[in-house]
């Protein structure tokens, strides 16, 4: 009864290139800007919608509101000076940048990271993934008018930020994983406090299951909406939960294990329908995986050991000519750093491969036509994209 089945015959036909010929003068169509300041946008970008009634005929994605030129800045910084910059590429999950950059530098400089540091890095990345999913679960509810999920998840995320603060010294930009290792050891009693956070999180996630995943309104508005045809995964570079929701069980933590993932037991969550609901359930499964992994890591990680490898004096650290690509599975898909060095004290080129670039621009444009205006926000959130990471 809620199904939205527009009569597409009233809209202009597409030309050979698939481009619609829309004449705004007719008064039939309306331009509607969603963003850059809009609660339904996941950050500083906008979607230029062409609507006919409440149906979206065309959507164009616009980025550039946040361009900070990180990659260029990095070329003007020494290898250690890049370290405080990288986390800023992605606000909600900054640690992945720190890991990828550090691992790339270590790869080219031939530095072996101590075991304690690799466990600590895995812990940090899973804590970061957990937080990123908190933002997603809060956001997807919010995009569909379910305000309470946002409040709960922000609360739980705050508790995890407290753990980040005591471990790394900062809440958002942790700057803890640096080339050579990590900056410190677990504080006294950290495990117990972390367990408290995780069990609180599980209680709230149970409530999320009830209020969101078992909610007929949520289901109706998300099932069958924003379906990504699995055939598009390859050409559009769809990775991570977005692909797993379409039945492609790809996860770099399993497929090409990095850090200590090969020593951890976990299953990757998958779904089959490839719609907004499927993408949300995959993430709900993933967040539970992260919770389990954090517990496992704290149980299995060495109790002590050096946190840092011996590295050259960072003030004049030169790295031999070379190039490398370091990738990992962040909460949104494949995240990678491509680093080129030329034997000087500065990176020749750093390129950040973030999943938001592919998901939030071309893919979103492809998915928008034919949706209802009110579903665009949910569709965008369901792709779990962070504009800061597009514009680096």
């Amino acid at each position: 009864m809620f199904n939205f089945k527009p009569d597409r015959t009233q809209y202009p036909a597409a030309d050979a290139d698939g481009k619609l010929e829309i004449d705004l003068e007719t008064g039939k169509y309306l331009k509607l800007w969603q963003g850059p300041n809009h609660p339904g946008i996941t950050g500083n970008m906008s979607v230029e919608l062409t609507v006919c009634g409440d149906e979206v005929v065309e959507g164009k994605t616009h980025v550039g509101y946040l361009h900070r030129g990180f990659e260029k800045l990095m070329e003007r910084r020494t290898f250690i000076q890049v370290f405080p910059i990288v986390c800023r590429v992605c606000v909600p999950e900054p640690d992945f940048n720190e890991y990828c950059y550090a691992a790339a530098v270590e790869d080219l400089a031939g530095i072996e990271v101590p075991e304690y540091a690799t466990w600590m890095r895995t812990l940090i990345l899973e804590m970061g993934r957990f937080n990123s999913y908190m933002m997603f679960l809060g956001g997807i509810g919010g995009a569909l008018g379910l305000g309470i999920t946002g409040q709960w998840m922000t609360y739980v995320r705050d508790l995890m930020l407290d753990r980040f603060e005591e471990l790394t010294g900062a809440r958002i930009y942790h700057m803890f994983i640096l080339p050579g290792g990590v900056r410190g050891h677990l504080p006294e009693g950290f495990e117990a406090r972390m367990e408290e956070v995780l069990s609180t999180a599980e209680r709230y996630l149970d409530d999320i299951d009830k209020v969101m995943f078992s909610n007929s309104v949520f289901k109706t508005r998300t099932k069958g909406v924003g379906v990504i045809d699995p055939k598009l995964f390859e050409p559009y570079g769809v990775t991570g939960p977005n692909a797993r929701a379409g039945g492609v069980a790809k996860d770099l933590r399993k497929d090409s294990p990095y850090l200590v993932y090969d020593q951890l037991d976990f299953e990757v969550a998958t779904a089959t329908d490839s719609d907004i609901f499927a993408r949300a359930t995959v993430r709900r499964g993933d967040v539970q995986t992260s919770i389990d992994l954090i517990r496992q890591i704290l149980r299995k990680m060495p109790k002590d050991g050096p946190a840092m490898a011996r590295i050259p004096n960072v003030l004049h650290w030169k790295i031999p000519r070379g190039e490398t690509y370091i990738k990992g599975e962040c909460s949104r898909g494949e995240y990678g750093y491509y680093l080129v060095t030329d034997g000087t004290g500065y990176p020749r080129r750093i390129n950040v491969r973030g999943p938001s670039y592919t998901h939030a621009m071309a893919l979103l444009e492809h998915l928008i036509p034919g949706t209802n205006i009110s579903d665009v926000a949910a569709l965008m959130v369901s792709l779990h994209t962070y504009p800061p990471e597009i514009e680096r």
Binding site: I80, P84, E166, Y173, V211, N215, V314, L315
Partner: protein, 598 residues
């Protein structure tokens, strides 16, 4: 879709009675122990090295002068001022800090209506100084190397029977690693008497550009090969790295550069002197001060003749420093470069005997006196007059000249400086060659922690079997009925200086020892032999407590005569080199001024 999915969401209404989870007022809540708040700086342990400024990727840190903090050895007198409009709280400055003085406070927020309040010198302004501590580095610094790269040396049992050089020198790989530890703060440059561009030549080692390194060395020191071996390396006492580890081996890195450049290449790099000016300068004494001045003057195109009384040039570098510390070939190469500049060195030519001061005054435009301190001082305790008591400098000179010197089976050295160590270790070697064992006792007024000798000299002397008795004051050279020396009687020293800081040793007479030995060698200091000046000039010159009085530019009270080196200042090679440069500068300025006057 069933009724269940309509009703289930309502079960979360149970939360309606929960306490709100959001915190109304986060200000006042304590932050975590490691929280990175505003900076704190322990002003007393900060040395103003500026490493924090160097690493800051936002240029948020400026090193600024601060009232009440003076520039001194090993402290630039500057302190970091942080602009919180630029700071990103990464705390790399804390991690890289060479002394651990920089930390961060544990405070979340700070509200102020004055934007300038957010640019301040931590540790100075009151509001933040006493806040609870937040982030500090875990353990010692890891962003630059702590430990010095080990220098291979000949083991004591091998070196004690010969005069071969002890220190091996760094390999290229070792030198790069050692050079890597330098943070280029430049505190050493200020400390070095010759202000050598130390961070620059260390950078040349890192880059393996030895040509560049050598050129940098020669900008400030024509005796880099000598100083690379025997410099008193005051630079290493002000090195920022020593606060949490070993200072950079600056001296060994200097030596490494010179070792890596063949002599011919050295001559090529130094190049040719400037076109002749037609001016002539006479320099008396071919020690480090005289030859440095000669090098500078000759390079500028002036004609330079150096008059040296002994058979070889080098002064105390040759006749004072034993060969196991400074091989003669090394010294010869440094002197060779100076001679290649056109400097004429007339050895075996004693001024006052072979040529008079008046003649020099007549034949040259200027005369530089760089005669050094070559006469040993005596303790003048009873028994020092007569055979069996020697002066260290005399013995060292005779050893260098290849003369036969008396080598008794047991001997006593008086003195705690480097000369005392040199003679003790030289005699130990001769004893080893003659008797197969070492019998050297060394006594000094100072306690061992206040010896004037370099630390490694004390360590190596002991390794070689020299017995050191510290805080012992000589009272009498003990002789038997025939007048032959049998030992040295000493009392324990209670204090060396009186309340006014004057030299007035106080002894504990009850604590007496007789150190056995058939020879006593005095190594308590030297003085200049100014007899070459003759009476009229001695009368005409102004004096300052036995030394010729000079002004800040090394002019004596006679306009044609300049003086430099140990004879007027001292006390070591690098100071002599520094003096040599300055006196040469003054002479060149005077010559140029005279040119204008004519």
């Amino acid at each position: 879709m069933g009724l269940r999915e309509v009703l289930t969401p309502f079960t979360v209404w149970k939360h309606v009675f929960d306490e709100p989870v959001t915190i109304k007022n986060p200000i006042g809540r304590p932050a975590a122990d490691r929280y990175r708040g505003f900076h704190q700086n322990d002003m007393a342990s900060c040395i103003g090295c500026g490493t924090c400024e160097a690493i800051c990727q936002n240029a948020a840190i400026d090193m600024v002068p601060v009232d009440g903090i003076e520039t001194r050895t090993g402290d630039s007198g500057l302190r970091p001022q942080i602009d919180y409009g630029r700071c990103c709280w990464c705390a790399l400055c804390v991690d890289v800090c060479m002394t651990g003085s920089l930390t961060m406070s544990n405070e979340y927020t700070w509200v102020d209506t004055d934007p300038d309040a957010f640019r301040f010198v931590p540790g100075l302004e009151e509001p933040w100084k006493d806040d609870e501590e937040g982030y500090e580095r875990e353990g010692k610094r890891v962003l630059s190397g702590i430990e010095r790269i080990h220098m291979e040396e000949m083991p004591p049992e091998t070196r004690i029977s010969n005069f071969e050089e002890i220190v091996d020198g760094y390999s290229r790989a070792e030198a790069i690693l050692e050079a890597d530890r330098c943070v280029e703060c430049g505190l050493c440059v200020a400390t070095c008497p010759a202000h050598m561009s130390i961070p620059d030549y260390i950078a040349a080692v890192r880059d393996q550009d030895y040509d560049r390194g050598l050129e940098i060395l020669y900008e400030t020191n024509p005796f880099s090969e000598v100083c690379g071996r025997v410099c008193t390396h005051k630079c290493e006492t002000s090195c920022a790295a020593l606060h949490e580890g070993d200072p950079i081996a600056i001296r060994w890195l200097k030596r490494h550069i010179v070792d890596e450049v063949p002599f011919d290449r050295r001559l090529e790099l130094i190049g040719k002197p400037a076109a002749p000016t037609g001016r002539k300068v006479a320099i008396i004494g071919a020690g480090p001060a005289g030859l440095t001045a000669a090098f500078d003057l000759a390079r500028a195109g002036h004609g330079v003749v150096v008059f040296e009384a002994l058979s070889h040039a080098g002064g105390m570098m040759r006749y004072g420093i034993p060969e196991y510390r400074l091989p003669y070939e090394a010294l010869d190469r440094d002197i060779g470069v100076i001679e290649a500049m056109g400097v004429e060195i007339r050895t075996n030519c004693r001024v006052g005997r072979d040529v008079t001061m008046d003649a020099l005054r007549r034949d040259y435009d200027s005369v530089i006196l760089a005669i050094g301190l070559n006469m040993g001082r005596s303790t003048r305790v009873p028994g020092t007059e007569g055979p069996g008591v020697e002066k260290a400098v005399d013995l060292l000179r005779r050893i260098t000249d290849g003369e036969e010197v008396p080598v008794p089976e047991r001997l006593v050295v008086i003195g705690g400086g480097n000369v005392a160590m040199d003679i003790a270790r030289s005699m130990a070697r001769l004893q080893m060659q003659k008797y197969g064992r070492v019998g050297v006792t060394l006594t000094a007024l100072e306690d061992i922690d206040h010896f004037l000798a370099d630390r490694e000299e004390i360590v190596e002397s002991r390794e070689e079997g020299v017995q050191i008795f510290d805080a012992r004051g000589p009272q009498e050279v003990v002789r038997d009925e025939s007048g032959a020396v049998t030992g040295l009687r000493t009392w324990r020293v209670k204090s060396i200086f009186d309340a006014d800081g004057r030299f007035a040793p106080a002894y504990d007479e009850g604590d007496e020892q007789i150190h056995e030995g058939t020879m006593v060698i005095e190594a308590i200091g030297q003085m200049a032999d100014t007899s070459l000046l003759e009476e009229a000039l001695t009368e005409a010159l102004e004096w300052n407590r036995g030394r010729i009085r000079i002004d800040g530019a090394f002019r004596t009270s006679e306009p044609w005569l300049f003086a430099a080196g140990d004879a007027v200042k001292g006390p070591d090679v690098i100071n002599a080199v520094a003096d040599g440069h300055r006196v040469a500068r003054t002479v060149m300025d005077e010559l140029a001024a005279r040119e204008v006057m004519q």
